[in-house]
């Protein structure tokens, strides 16, 4: 008889975890990049036009042949946080593991559990169309050269700012598009953190989101930012375009108001830097 309450408790816990994983999946913006236009969510195939060639996101549904159905939790965490595939291949940094490495193992694992709980969908991955001089083998060297030892995120006395930084840098990986990159594709975080990039994922420029008043969003207040993250509406009444529309629809609009508030509060603390 004692077993039943235990089972019920177990079920309640696993439901709570699944919801948590789904929330984290949204916060980490997985859907926007791993879904082709008009395609099955998370089955991959979206194109990213970069100076290094055109990359296509892979299928991350739990299909055992074309997706990640055979991956263990540890393998997923290694892929997400260290850019290493289960067979030891180094990923191109178009996959934002240089941001996700700031994520906690617990959150990364929860995303894995949630993905594995979804319906598998069979869809073959499309090969990247790389620049002639670029090879996947170079990525091991790139990682060795560019992945500094991980410095823990700075912690302030304000828990809301800390949460906002975690959402912006680790989960939301805003800098992957909004921070310019150097010649080898490394984000120039030291000098131009979130200062906009000429080469965005659609091949277009990406705006400066530092507090710079003329180049950035220094004239927006925290409420403008929150409202933007919820609805996509700019203070001038226009709407975000390109990939940002998907980020709003699939990620930031699905967060709690408290989390959007934290993101806005943190972004208001980012030093003003002119667009490079």
């Amino acid at each position: 008889m004692l077993r039943w309450p235990a089972l019920v408790l177990l079920a309640a816990v696993s439901v709570a975890q699944a919801t948590d994983g789904e929330y984290l999946l949204n916060a980490a913006g997985c859907v926007a990049c791993h879904t082709a236009e008009g395609g099955r969510p998370l089955a991959g195939g979206r194109a990213f036009v970069t100076p290094y060639g055109t990359f296509y996101s892979p299928n991350i549904t739990p299909d055992r042949e074309t997706g990640i159905g055979t991956w263990s939790r540890a393998q997923f965490v290694a892929a997400l946080k260290h850019g290493t595939s289960p067979d030891g291949v180094a990923y191109f940094p178009v996959f934002p593991y240089t941001s996700y490495r700031l994520m906690s193992d617990q959150d990364a694992g929860a995303i894995h559990d949630h993905l594995q709980s979804l319906e598998p969908y069979q869809q073959q991955n499309r090969e990247h169309d790389l620049a002639w001089w670029l090879g996947r083998w170079m990525m091991k060297l790139w990682q060795w050269w560019n992945l500094d030892p991980l410095v823990p995120m700075p912690v302030t006395k304000d828990p809301m700012i800390n949460r906002g930084r975690y959402l912006v840098d680790a989960l939301g990986h805003c800098g992957e598009c909004h921070t310019p990159r150097n010649w080898s594709g490394v984000m120039v975080r030291q000098s131009h953190y979130l200062a906009g990039s000429k080469q965005g994922p659609d091949g277009d420029a990406v705006p400066n989101i530092t507090t710079d008043r003329s180049n950035g969003i220094g004239k927006w207040d925290a409420d403008d930012l929150q409202y933007f993250l919820e609805t996509g509406a700019l203070p001038n009444g226009d709407y975000a375009g390109g990939l940002m529309t998907d980020v709003i629809d699939n990620s930031t609009s699905k967060l709690t108001a408290a989390d959007r508030k934290a993101m806005a509060a943190y972004l208001k603390t980012v030093p003003a830097v002119a667009t490079p």
């Binding site: 609805t231 996509g232 509406a233 009444g237 226009d238 975000a240 375009g241 390109g242 529309t245």
Partner: protein, 147 residues
């Protein structure tokens, strides 16, 4: 001689007609209309977020949005898809889809104006959200990204 003069007059009037419908002019007109819509939308959002409270203005913006969005498809005549425009070719290749999206904005702005007239805060907020969804949705599919 007389027929010649008539022919010239007819030609002249044709050119001025053609001038009025020149795609470049139409594109400028369309962009002015969109700026007006964006202006009213931004103003309405500032009022609804409680940042300002100019008496009576919400109805003005809501009614303007309803009127401005009453026939958006008419702003996109065939042939106005070149030069300085962010309008995507999909507008004309998928005209029925575009007409539907434009119609959704008409419906949503009309509902917003009605909600503002009704005065219920919850209805107003929901209707305004819907207006935003239709703007964003149509721009996502049919407008090139800003650069």
């Amino acid at each position: 001689m007389k027929t010649g003069a008539i022919a010239i007059a007819a030609l002249l009037s044709l050119t001025s007609l053609a001038h009025a419908d020149e795609p470049e002019n139409f594109i400028k007109y369309r962009q002015s209309m969109m700026t007006a819509i964006g202006g009213h939308n931004g103003a309405a959002s500032q009022i609804l977020r409680g940042k300002v409270a100019p008496p009576g203005h919400l109805a003005m913006h809501a009614n303007a949005l309803r009127d401005l969005a009453s026939d958006l498809a008419a702003l996109f005549p065939e042939g106005s898809d070149f030069g300085e425009t962010k309008a995507k070719a999909e507008i004309w290749s998928d005209w029925s889809g575009f007409e539907k999206a434009a119609g959704d904005s008409k419906t949503a702005t009309a509902a917003f104006a009605e909600a503002v007239a009704g005065g219920d805060a919850g209805n107003i907020e929901a209707a305004f959200k819907q207006v935003g969804e239709t703007c964003k949705g149509c721009h996502k599919t049919y407008r090139e990204k800003d650069d």
